[in-house]
Structures are given as structure tokens and as C-alpha cells.
């Protein structure tokens, strides 16, 4: 009986935090004092933080900043990199953020859902004109090969042409995507943003920030002056060479979504997976209208593989892409993918 009681106690302790994930940021309080013209703070394995802006002599402020934490979740007190500024930028303790606790309250199936993977950089993004430039450089270097310095100068010119050409030709690849993750019967949804560049924080603090690959170091840029009443707003969390994820809660109580009526917003494309695993394409779904009948399968419209979940089997799933502007706005560089809805148990 005592063993059973011990198991029950352990289960009760573990259950609420099962699947809980450590965020890659933790809110910290910094006491800053002028004169100060920007500063860099080291946050250990998590990354670094830059304070941007200027404080005049005698000006003082206490600011709340998102400090990068290590992939293990361990937070290191931000420490100013320049020792000469150590008396003007001081760590003043961690700020309790209830967001992590709110995430634990989300249904586990929704919380543990695989994160949307941004489509990989598409092969074919190298402009073919680059190959022509490189071929031209090779031929001319071949002609000039007897005069070494001239050949090297020629190579430098062609290198500059190649780099300039690439600078003027943006490589193809979406910068980010927003996926609204929903579960039938749950009034709380999650809005998951995945970005290759980073985010700017607004008034609402993210419930979770994560990075892929996990070992990636974050760079946080915080303005010394923030809007009144919105501590931390305007801070930018940046990551290069990876994907940054931001999760916030979404109140879906007033947006009951049924097949008879679309209460969310106009969808450009809709796919439905039956409990048996068969996909059907339904075309566009206007707001306030019932779900359109499935269109004949011509093989052209397939659900995006990077959003098509393998699991769970035996549940119906709706995948849809919202019309731009139908639910909030996303940065212009995210336009190729935009905002998607993934609803289980539809």
C-alpha cells in the first residue's frame, strides 16, 4: 500500500510538468546608470545580449530584459563584457514569469505536438548567372596565367562581381511561418512562430522560446528605453544559422470551428485527413461558410510535407492556410508560407 502511495505521489508530482520544456530565455532585471552608450553582456552558453541606446549622466533605470539561457535551461547571470561598465550595468535579480506555468496548463497533446519544421532551403537557389560569371573568370585567368599578378588581379575583380551578383539576388527560402495549433474541445490554442531570422517582442511575452539546433547561441538586442508600461517590449531575439521558435497561448473560446461554419477566417487552401489517414483537398473555405466538398484528386494539391504530421493515427486533422491578414499579420519576409492552421480532432 505504501509503495502504491509512493507511486501515486510521484505521478502526481510528475504529471503537471511532464513534457514541460525549458525556454531559451529567462527574464532578468538590470539596473543601468548613465552615462552609458550601449553595452554588451555575456550570458554564458546561452548567448549574448546587447543594450542599445544611450543614457545621459545621472540617468538611472531598472529594465527587464530577456536573457538567453543555455540549452539545458540553466540561466547565467548576464555580466557586462567591458569591466569599465560594471558599475553602470548591474544584474538585479530574475523576474518571475508566469508564462511557463501557463504552458504547463495547456493539454499535453497540444503541448507536445511536433513543432512546424520550416522547409529547408530549396536546392536550385544558386543563380545560373553565377556559373557564367565563374566560367568567364576561369577563361580569362587561363589566358593571363603567364602574368601571375595580372591573373590574380583579374580573379579579384571577378570575385567581386560574383559576390555583388549574389548580394543582388536574394536566395529563395521562406524566412518564417506561423502555425495555429488547435485541439478539438480545447478553448486554448497555441500560436507557434518559427523564424530563420528572429523576433521582436511586443507587449505580450512569449510562453516559450526555443532554438533549433539546440546548441545555437542567441543574440538579444534590448533598447534601453522601452514604451511605458511595456517592460521588455521592442527587444529582438536573433539567431543565425538555425530556426527560432516562439510559442504564445491563443484564446479560442469565441472562435468555435465546426464544419458547418468557419468562425476563424478565410482560408486559401484546406486539406482534411480522415481518421483512416486519407487526405482530401477542399480548395478555399470562405469565412462564415460551411466546409466545401472535397475536390477531385488531380494529384496537384498535396498537403505540405513539412506540416503533415505522421502521428497521431486514427484522428482527423485539418490543415489550412489562412488568407494574408485573416488572422493577425506576419512579417513580409514570411509571405511565401504565411499563417497556417493545424487542428486535430476536427
Amino acid at each position: 500500500l505504501r509503495t502504491l502511495a509512493a507511486f501515486a505521489l510521484c505521478a502526481a508530482l510528475i504529471a503537471p510538468t511532464a513534457g514541460a520544456q525549458d525556454s531559451r530565455i529567462r527574464w532578468a532585471r538590470l539596473a543601468v546608470e548613465g552615462p552609458l552608450d550601449g553595452a554588451r553582456l555575456d550570458c554564458g552558453a546561452g548567448g549574448e545580449m546587447w543594450l542599445e541606446g544611450r543614457l545621459l549622466p545621472g540617468e538611472r533605470a531598472v529594465i527587464e530584459v530577456p536573457a538567453p539561457t543555455a540549452p539545458t535551461g540553466m540561466a547565467v547571470e548576464p555580466r557586462v563584457a567591458d569591466p569599465a561598465l560594471s558599475d553602470r550595468v548591474a544584474f538585479d535579480g530574475w523576474v518571475e514569469d508566469p508564462s511557463a506555468a501557463r504552458l504547463v496548463a495547456v493539454p499535453m497533446g497540444l503541448r507536445l505536438r511536433p513543432r512546424p519544421a520550416l522547409p529547408e532551403w530549396r536546392a536550385g537557389s544558386v543563380p545560373r548567372s553565377l556559373l557564367l560569371v565563374l566560367a568567364g573568370s576561369f577563361l580569362l585567368t587561363l589566358v593571363l596565367r603567364a602574368r601571375r599578378l595580372l591573373a590574380l588581379a583579374n580573379a579579384c575583380v571577378w570575385s567581386a562581381v560574383a559576390v555583388l551578383l549574389l548580394a543582388r539576388t536574394p536566395l529563395e527560402g521562406p524566412a518564417g511561418i506561423r502555425v495555429l495549433e488547435g485541439e478539438a474541445g480545447s478553448s486554448l490554442w497555441l500560436a507557434v512562430d518559427a523564424s530563420r531570422e528572429g523576433f521582436e517582442l511586443g507587449g505580450e511575452r512569449p510562453w516559450l522560446v526555443d532554438a533549433e539546433p539546440a546548441r545555437a547561441r542567441l543574440s538579444v538586442r534590448v533598447p534601453l528605453i522601452h514604451p511605458p508600461g511595456l517592460p521588455g517590449a521592442g527587444a529582438r531575439i536573433l539567431l543565425r544559422g538555425g530556426t527560432l521558435l516562439r510559442i504564445v497561448g491563443l484564446d479560442a473560446r469565441n472562435r468555435d470551428w465546426k464544419r458547418a461554419n468557419n468562425h476563424w477566417g478565410e482560408l486559401e487552401e484546406v486539406w482534411l485527413r480522415s481518421a483512416g489517414g486519407d487526405w482530401t483537398f477542399h480548395g478555399s473555405w470562405p469565412a462564415g461558410a460551411p466546409l466545401p466538398a472535397p475536390l477531385p484528386d488531380s494529384g496537384e494539391h498535396r498537403p505540405p510535407s513539412w506540416l503533415d504530421p505522421a502521428l497521431p493515427q486514427g484522428r482527423s486533422i485539418l490543415l489550412g492556410r489562412l488568407v494574408p491578414g485573416a488572422f493577425g499579420t506576419v512579417p513580409a519576409s514570411w509571405a511565401p508560407l504565411g499563417t497556417w492552421v493545424r487542428l486535430y480532432g476536427f
Partner: protein
């Protein structure tokens, strides 16, 4: 500088970019660094044992550099545009340029009359293609993603500029672990090694090969 050997190295270095431009599925830019891929043939090419020659000038070292510079710069810009971190890329590029010059210098010095050309050829062969090839053979033999070759071989292979470059192909690309790309990368390395083998054989046979 023999045009045909420059042409071979240039074509090999451009192969990954051409495959990517053509949209070939083998060219997965998320799993490798184009810069390291482009540098690989030039590193193999620069130090090839050469036929004996009397008139060595320091400016001869600029020849391979002039041919390699445009593709390397283009690969660097492509990697940067995809979001790879600047510092590791710049460090790799600087190291690769230094290595290329050093290898070319060693090859030129060994090609002077009365220089220990055979000893240089043996060292070059052991340090560059042989150790890398042996390690690749063990990796393929094990048929696993992360094999465990003997520690001594790993140590020897680590000293090989080719292995250094092959490892950088994956390690510079932080977007995600390469995994599936490993075989393709090793295939490129093996191709370079095979080409080197042909050239060395030509030199030993007394041909007129002189990169």
C-alpha cells in the same frame, strides 16, 4: 600551370554549385557548407607532387590562388546569404587560403633539382589521400552514421588537410546535422582522391604533368 589540371580542379570545385543550380536532390544546401565543398578540390590540387623544374619563382604560388579565388568567394557569399555564421566561415576561409599557399609552396620546393621529391610524394600521399581514404573506407565499412575508427587512425586523419576540409563541410553547416549528406560528401572526397591518384601515377611514370 598546366591548363588541364587547373580545369579539372576548377570543374570539381564548381560541381556542388552546378548541382545546386540545377536543383539536383544531391545538393542539399542545408546540410553542408558550400565554402568547404568548393575548397576541397583546391586543397587536394595545390600540393600535388610535381615534375622537376629549375625555374621556381614565388609568384608561381599565385597561379592556383588566382584560379581558386572566384569560386571560393562565391561559395563564401552563398553560405553567408543562407545565414551561416560569419566568424567560423571567415576563419575557415583564411585557414584554407593559408593551407593552399603552404601546400603549393611545399610542392614547388620539392620539385626543385636535388630536392627529396620522392620523400615529399610519400608524405603528401600518406597525409592527404591515404589517411582520408582509409578513414572513409572504415566509415563505409561500418555502415553507420557515426562510426568509431581506431583512435590512432583518427589522430592521423585529423592531421590531414583533406579530412579537416571534409569535416568542415558538415561542421560549418549549423542548420541541422548533416546525417544523410555524409555519403555524398565522402563520395566527393573519394573522387578527389581518385583524381589525385591518377595524377601521382602520371608523375611517377615520368609524364609531363605539372599542375
Amino acid at each position: 600551370v598546366e591548363p588541364w589540371s587547373c580545369c579539372a580542379a576548377w570543374l570539381l570545385s564548381l560541381l556542388p554549385l552546378a548541382l545546386e543550380a540545377a536543383g539536383h536532390p544531391l545538393a542539399d544546401p542545408a546540410s553542408h557548407s558550400r565554402l568547404a565543398l568548393v575548397c576541397l578540390p583546391w586543397i587536394a590540387f595545390a600540393g600535388l607532387p610535381r615534375a622537376t623544374r629549375k625555374d621556381f619563382r614565388a609568384s608561381d604560388l599565385l597561379g592556383p590562388l588566382a584560379f581558386a579565388l572566384p569560386p571560393v568567394c562565391a561559395a563564401f557569399a552563398l553560405d553567408r546569404a543562407q545565414g551561416l555564421a560569419l566568424l567560423p566561415l571567415a576563419l575557415f576561409a583564411a585557414n584554407a587560403a593559408g593551407l593552399l599557399l603552404l601546400l603549393a609552396l611545399a610542392a614547388e620546393l620539392a620539385a626543385r633539382p636535388r630536392a627529396p621529391a620522392a620523400l615529399y610524394a610519400f608524405c603528401w600521399w600518406s597525409l592527404l589521400p591515404a589517411s582520408a581514404l582509409l578513414r572513409a573506407a572504415l566509415v563505409w565499412g561500418a555502415r553507420t552514421e557515426r562510426p568509431q575508427p581506431p583512435a590512432w587512425l583518427d589522430l592521423v586523419a585529423s592531421a590531414s588537410p583533406l579530412t579537416w576540409c571534409i569535416r568542415a563541410i558538415e561542421s560549418l553547416a549549423l542548420a541541422r546535422p548533416a546525417g544523410q549528406a555524409t555519403l555524398e560528401i565522402l563520395a566527393v572526397g573519394a573522387f578527389v582522391v581518385a583524381l589525385s591518384l591518377v595524377l601521382v601515377n602520371s608523375v611517377r611514370a615520368g609524364g609531363e604533368v605539372s599542375p
